[in-house]
Amino acid sequence: MIDRYAAVLIIGFKQQLAYKKDYFISLGFRIFASFIMIAVWTAVYLNSSVSSIGGLTLPQMYIYFFLINAIAIASWNETVAENIQDDIQNGTITTALVKPVAYTAQVFFSSLGNNSFAGLAVTVPFLILISFIGHLVLTLQSVAFFLMEIVLSFIVSTFIFFLIGTLAIYLTNIWGIIAVTESLYMLLGGGVVPLNLLPPWAGGIFAALPMQLSLYTPAATLLGIVSTGEIVQSLLVGVAWAVPLFILSVLVWSRVRGKITSVGG
């Protein structure tokens, strides 16, 4: 049984291997994108004549923007929604449903394979590079927390994007919804500005959302600018979202799977 899931995971991994060039291009532009915010924040720090803003020194700000560009590749799972949409549009869902592996497991493990490749090809080398260049002081505890945050973020986002993917059964084309959700992940996750720079009311709202686990909290954990208590609180927020989203995903799938209309193929 496990062999079947492993096979789906490996296929997802191999699909990404077919586009090695695209990944190297992505890697290059993620480094460049970090440089823009670094240049802007350098100008801000120089003009303000301060050593830290919101508890972040300029070097920490540099590392923050490098880190979030590395983490963003692997910490949320929009591939689930994209795969469901593709299966509906191409009609391949009919063959997927008769395979001896649950469809939900197929889309999950396939997306896990895709993201594992992204993580290994881009995120891990990027993180190692940043750790050396930025002289990050990593402890076993901070790395363990970081991994827990990424895994939890991936799980929560899988449920969110799975629910969005089921909308394809009714709407067929859900690119716009996927794009909006990804944008919200970037915005609410701290990809635009570190969340600790936001006003307290906004910071409070963002801290209660699962998106903070996808970028800000993991980056802040590696930078050592959040306490253990805050990290545990963020993880609990993630768990508090994961459980109801899982139940909702099961309920929604049991209701909509009978309404699938295959097109294409």
Binding site: S26, V40, A43, V44, Y45, I53, G176, I177, V192, L197
Partner: protein
């Protein structure tokens, strides 16, 4: 005999009319793309708002001047994406999808711009325009600055569109992939939202002479804020025209590599 330019413009506008009709058939998707476009433009406004809340900001630029620059850059980049949907265009080129377009009796630029759409970007243009008006009303405008702004903006936007078409044809010829061009333009678009001075001398050269986005956002904004001399204005305009001409010639040279019928 009707003027060739008028015919091309009419063809372009008519294509837009039908693209819009097609876009609005899927109302939920249309609404989502417009929302997406609006959310995306908020990134830079939030960044600027946070910067000016927690610090003294960027030297030489007030908060409202920065809003004006960000809005100008956002309008230009969204106008570019509206006219050149890079992924779609590359797909047409790779699959031989340009065949039915290229047999039409119109100019190549007009045909390429009419063969695909990026209507989802319209939300970004409208949203940024509202902020632009707000920022301009606070800053205050003089007629000369406004005129110089519009001249440089239009010239810069045309340069950027021609440059992008040339890049798409170049990467179609070299790699058959739109990934690089799309990522490059996303990067350039983000960079164009901040004053060129923050990137240092190398950055200023990069975002003007190599990737001509500075002529479409930074220099027009400087003209509006009356912080550019007449010589600077003319220099920016001339270089913009020169890059447009080079891009147009290169595009015409590269488009012969299109393989009819795909493959």
């Amino acid at each position: 005999m009707e003027n060739r330019l008028v015919r091309d413009i009419r063809f372009y506008l008519l294509s837009q009319y039908y693209w819009w009709r097609g876009f609005l058939v899927y109302r939920e998707q249309a609404a989502m793309w417009l929302i997406y476009s609006l959310i995306n433009i908020t990134y830079s406004y939030i960044t600027v708002a946070v910067i000016y809340t927690v610090s003294s900001g960027i030297a030489g630029w007030s908060y409202y001047q920065m809003l004006f620059l960000v809005s100008t850059a956002t309008i230009v980049m969204n106008a570019l994406y509206y006219n050149v949907n890079i992924g779609w265009l590359m797909d047409l080129l790779r699959r031989g999808g340009m065949d039915p377009y290229l047999i039409r009796p119109y100019g190549r630029i007009s045909v390429f711009l009419s063969s695909q759409e990026g209507i989802g970007s319209a939300g970004g243009i409208v949203g940024a325009f509202v902020v632009l008006l707000y920022a301009a009303s606070v800053i205050g405008a003089n007629p000369v600055g406004l005129l110089a702004y519009l001249v440089l903006l239009v010239a810069g936007a045309i340069t950027l569109v021609l440059f992008t078409l040339m890049l798409v044809m170049l990467f179609y010829h070299l790699l058959r992939s739109a990934q690089f061009v799309q990522k490059l333009l996303n990067f350039v678009g983000q960079a164009s939202q901040y004053p060129l001075a923050v990137y240092g001398f190398v950055g200023q050269l990069l975002f003007t002479l190599v990737l001509p986005v500075g002529f479409a956002s930074y220099y027009p904004a400087k003209a509006f804020l009356s912080s550019i001399s007449l010589a600077g204005f003319l220099e920016a305009l001339l270089i913009s025209f020169a890059i447009s001409a080079i891009s147009y010639l290169a595009f015409n040279r590269l488009q012969v590599y299109y393989l009819s019928g795909g493959g």
